[in-house]
Symmetry: C2
Subunit: 357 residues, 2 copies
């Protein structure tokens, strides 16, 4: 992946930004992100799928290969998981030099209730053979990425705890999956960045050696430079975002608020451990105070709402920031940590606000 | 509005592109655009509205001011209009120099079935006084645009035929409006660019002189240069778009197809008169052939599907184009017509396709 300096977003990046949309940050006010506001990253094209002829194949190193219709899946016991999903590339466009790909700022996130069949239940039914080491999930979306012709596919280790949490979802927020979120069936891997949650699922294969597909072995890796083989991108690093207060300027998006006091609100999440602290700053990270953290959704995989009172001492320009910490000791950095692919940049959000006179 | 040359999209434009999303062009395969794939342009923030306390006020030069709840509106006779809506800024980022605002390429469009109350029926009920000349529609979304603090609002002349077609919609595609499309109520003006279709409607006022609000008098005007007062942006110019065939490259979005033959499909619309012809080119507009035009939605305000067989004579690189003409004699230009605001650029789409060997 190439990187570029300061001169602006290229036509190719703009084409991606016009297709793949973020969650406008005022939607942080909704505990469950309304359909159409949840972020979307679509590597290739959204396929048009005929649910009547579609089948999920479960094959490879299994005792009993399965070929299941949507009705077959719907007749099985259902589970539901409320999950905050975030794109691994969130924050990429704030890196310098900028890795050129989908140019996310801070908004590639959303929370939904995903209902479907547990992956483990289906694997038990198929009977995984002892020599299997990974499960490969293959979507119907096809294209060229990094010069490689491929269907979008990703693997998970059979002993990864994520597999026990994972859902084969046919509903999002109580309705059938919209086409752009993977109709008729998608994988949802709670706690992991979105690249793991394969959409338009067609096949699940048990394999007897580590999967070397492009999206595992090449694309989604944290690499210091082009020669570094890197480590896989997996779980979501902690992040807090605030809903920008007051009113925006259409073009600059800068905010104006009356003198206050104000209640700043936002949400925070981590795929590594429960979020246990969100701090807020009004001076671009010089000084911080504690927010009040709620557990409003009661799901270990979903964001938590937080609020903080802010009393601006005088009119003028302020830079609001928020910073999440999780129970495993992970804290958001003030400055980005650069890597070749531009992944997992969870440096703190900065929101410029003018307090009116 | 400023304009800029070639060096790339600015941070401000990227912020807008990350919020306001287009319809991925493969969604042209759907006659009605699924929720979440329809384009969105949100000037300020999506407001969070409590439907229980929300009211629509109808006032100004009327005999009987009205204050209506959502239930009041739902109890009235309903109408439904299937409407293709397009942003007035669609195509802006293809202008040179580029007017800096939301940087649309070609994808700011979508088609939905809007159900609600006819505007005329409500105006009859309120009784418009003889001295009224325009109706002003005011949304709940507020912000600063062009240095002017404002609620988003737009007017229509009382004698404009668009007013007879217009709907106060509370449903989109059979479900309550999503927040981002104007919940609980929006105006839909069939045939007009989207800026006329005010979302999050709070007030309809009859006024006795032409409305001079920012979005009518300053923003949405076709101006040759900064000194030109210009003419208002109103109805949608004809446009055809094709669903890019084959498979994409993730980053460049360039297409690869097998040798063929292929059926190219797309949709075409015009707010000025019925579309009656769509031509297709495979050599960047040098030569053209006729597509077959359908009337699949049967709505005078909705796009029409078209198909065209394409038999590439040999492997290699081709540039596909399509060009709509309407019954009023309007034809899409091959090259953009520049204006200060970057509005209504309906120059023909170009899709680069490599036919594999």
């Amino acid at each position: 992946m190439a990187a570029t300096t300061g001169t602006g977003i290229s036509l190719e990046e703009l084409q991606l930004a016009a297709r793949n949309h973020g969650m406008p940050l005022e939607a942080l006010r909704h505990p469950i992100t309304p359909a159409g506001l949840h972020y979307l990253l679509i590597h290739f094209d959204v396929p048009v799928v005929d649910a009547a002829t579609w089948r999920l194949e479960v094959d490879g190193e299994v005792e009993r290969p399965l070929s299941l219709s949507l009705d077959h899946l719907r007749r099985r016991p259902a589970i539901e998981r409320t999950v905050t999903m975030e794109c691994a590339g969130n924050g990429r466009a704030r890196l310098e030099p900028r890795p050129v790909s989908q140019p996310w700022l801070s908004e590639a996130v959303g929370t939904a209730a995903w209902r479907g069949v547990g992956v483990h239940a289906l694997l038990d039914e198929a009977g995984i053979r002892p020599d299997a080491v990974e499960m490969v999930f293959t979507g119907l979306d096809r294209g060229i990425d990094g010069g490689v012709l491929q269907a979008y596919e990703r693997s998970l280790h059979l002993d990864d705890p994520a597999l026990a949490d994972a859902v084969l979802a046919y509903e999002m927020n109580g309705t059938p999956l919209p086409p752009q979120h993977g109709f008729p069936l998608r994988l949802v891997v709670p706690g992991w960045y979105g690249m793991a949650s394969v959409k338009w699922l067609a096949r699940i294969s048990a394999v007897d050696r580590p999967f070397e597909g492009y999206q595992n072995a090449q694309a989604y890796r944290l690499r210091r430079d082009e020669d570094d083989p890197g480590v896989p991108v997996t779980r979501i690093l902690p992040r807090a975002l605030l809903a920008p207060p007051g009113i925006p300027d259409f073009f600059t998006r800068e905010r104006t608020v009356p003198r206050g006091p104000h209640v700043i609100e936002g949400r925070a999440w981590s795929g590594l451990a429960p979020v246990e602290r969100v701090e807020v700053s009004a001076d671009d990270g010089e000084t911080w105070w504690e927010s009040e953290l709620e557990d409003d959704l009661g799901s270990p995989w979903a964001w938590r709402r937080w609020t903080a009172e802010w009393r601006p001492p005088q009119p003028g320009r302020y830079v609001l920031c928020c910073r999440a910490s999780d129970a495993a000791g992970n804290v958001q950095p003030l400055e980005p940590v650069w890597n070749v692919g531009g992944y997992a940049n969870n440096s703190v959000q900065r929101v410029a606000v003018t307090v009116a006179d």
